[in-house]
């Protein structure tokens, strides 16, 4: 995976580059919106990280120019503006995901991998297969080793999202935003409990588990 990072603060850019390189993700840095826009057309990049508040052309304006130029590459908006309203504005402005500073390194990596994966073929297939789990997107049914899993519509969405990101960590915030379409974090531990329920349905009657809790980070559908 190749990342283009558009970020004006050198210290933050260094930290991000260090995080990505530690994960063996290639990254190039552009310090202004103008420089970044000049590089966006480069096909080598898979995902663009765009800071919102840039000197000169702002991230949201750069994004608008990018989209109007027909460049549909996934963009992760990275911002110091963390209010719910900003998230909506960022996503409506054409960003594919929105992450606020400061962030957990694992969260950034998980989001980038999820964005990258979305552009691959797997996400658009009518049938998702991961190990012995099979998910029919149109029929909205799921089976494990041929056994029908009785999932609620939301549990189906949850499993689908986990399967689209199989092998990668998905964070609570990613699940809230992508499965439950919420842009705020409820105080009640709703995500954890729903994940526990899904795990029970997935693992009931099977010898080995497949849904892993990554402490302090999120969840991962493990490799079969």
């Amino acid at each position: 995976m190749q990342i283009l990072l558009i970020e004006d603060d050198p210290q933050t850019a260094d930290a991000i580059m260090a995080i990505l390189r530690a994960e063996a993700i290639a990254v190039e840095w552009a310090a202004t919106g103008e420089l970044g826009l000049g590089r966006c057309g480069d096909n080598a990049f898979d995902v663009i990280i765009m800071d919102w508040m840039l000197p000169g052309i702002s991230g949201i304006d750069a994004l608008a120019r990018l989209r109007s130029a027909g460049i549909e590459k996934p963009v992760l908006m990275l911002s110091a503006l963390g209010r719910a309203e900003h998230r909506i504005e960022g996503l409506d402005g054409g960003a594919d995901d929105y992450l606020t500073k400061p962030f957990e390194p694992a969260e950034l990596v998980a989001r980038l991998r999820a964005l990258h994966r979305r552009t691959t073929v797997q996400a658009r297939q009518p049938v998702l297969i991961h190990g012995d789990i099979e998910l029919h997107v149109r029929a909205r049914t799921a089976h494990r080793a041929g056994k029908h899993l009785g999932l609620s519509p939301k549990e189906f969405e949850l499993l689908k999202y986990l399967m689209e990101n199989a092998g990668e960590i998905v964070t609570r915030e990613m699940l809230l935003r992508n499965v439950w379409k919420l842009n705020f974090d409820p105080q009640t531990n709703v995500i954890d409990v729903n994940l526990v329920r899904l795990r029970r349905k997935l693992e009931d009657g099977f010898a080995y588990c497949c849904l892993e809790t990554v402490r302090g980070r999120g969840y991962r559908l493990m490799a079969p």
């Binding site: 963390g82 209010r83 409506d92 606020t100 729903n194 526990v196």
Partner: protein
Amino acid sequence: MAPRPFAKRPAAASIAIRQALLSTLVTLLAVIFLTIAASIAIERSMRADMQQTIDTDIAGLADIMVNGGEAELVLRIADRTALTPGAAPRSYYALANQKGRLLAGNLEALPNLDAGRSQSAERRVGGDPVLVRATRLRGGLTLVVGRSLRGIQALQQRLQLDFLIVGIIAVVATLVAGFAVAARLRGRVEALSNTFTRFERGDLAARSGAASGHDELVQLAGHVDTHLDWMARLLSAQRDISDNIAHELRTPLVHLDTRLLSVIGHNGDPAVASELHLARNDIRSIVSLFDALLDLALAESGGLNPNTMSFDLSELAADLVELYAASAEEAGLDFKARIAPGITMHGEAMAVTRLIANLLDNAFKYVPPGSRVRLIIADGPRIIVEDNGDGIAASEVEQIFQRFRRAAAPGTGHGLGLALVKVIAARHGLVARVENAQPGARFIVEPQHGKRAKGLIG
């Protein structure tokens, strides 16, 4: 500010329509008054003329009596009564001697009048209204002369009919003109009102744009636009300031966080790493508290969001119930919802989701295991979350929606959840209150004074 709907008000509530109806009523009253006044004036004038004709006739006959005597008078009266009345009003005569015996004329009896005082009055003769005067002549003779009033009455009726026709035309014309003017006026006032509504719903570019003309409404529209320009500038400035503060505060915190991460990475001591992780959590707490405060402040000051729409509250609540059901079961709570189907409202769907989630979070946090929690969505819209937990102390009821207000509470939270509930409710023209459910607490979000909430406000 109160919610202002796009919906049309009933016509009777419109000042312009009321004005049009009032004008019509005034026209109607004026026509009625004119009809009556004209009718009375004409009648008086014609009666006076008729009285004068009668008196002249009497004077003439009195002269004949003086010059020609009784026989001549009888003949002249016979001449007069022999005349077939044409267009002139019919004439009546009677001449009687001292004993009251009729000597001449076409009256069959003497009217009951005091001839000594030349009394004049209106009498009926064979169904004909007649103005008569009786007078005493030389030799004790009584002469009575009368004229039919039928002509005056016919004229009055024709006049009244004419006035009625003119009146109907005037009233209809006033009504049509009044409504046309009212409709135009109403349209202009509504255009102004809708400009405010659009602005309140987040369209900061909404202006009345009324430029031509010099009337009061154009002047008012000018003031409205100037005011909205000013509001838009203030809102934009407020947003810029809060964005800048957020950015300037977060940037050093991000640096601090990065440094802490780096130290954790290079330091093998687990005790130190554990402390540094706690420090990182503190950074997150500061940032999230700051976001919550900014959210609250901007929502409260009417920071406008263009992402408003009509949405299905019932559906939204049902989704949340599904999300919270598992947590409730896990916490040993009896959580059920009673959601009336198809309740829609206009506003920020995500904010309303957050409102309900905050109420549920609050209930789940404070009730002991085994308690009952109910979410009720009813028409209005009314959003109710009630429980049978420990309830709220009477002294807390007033302050519970204030920021940083936390009951002696387990767990975390900024103490801003219920404050945000109140603010989000207010943005949607709703009020949030709490009452004792005996036992437990009942949080109610509903339209003010039981009115229907009509939409989002700034």
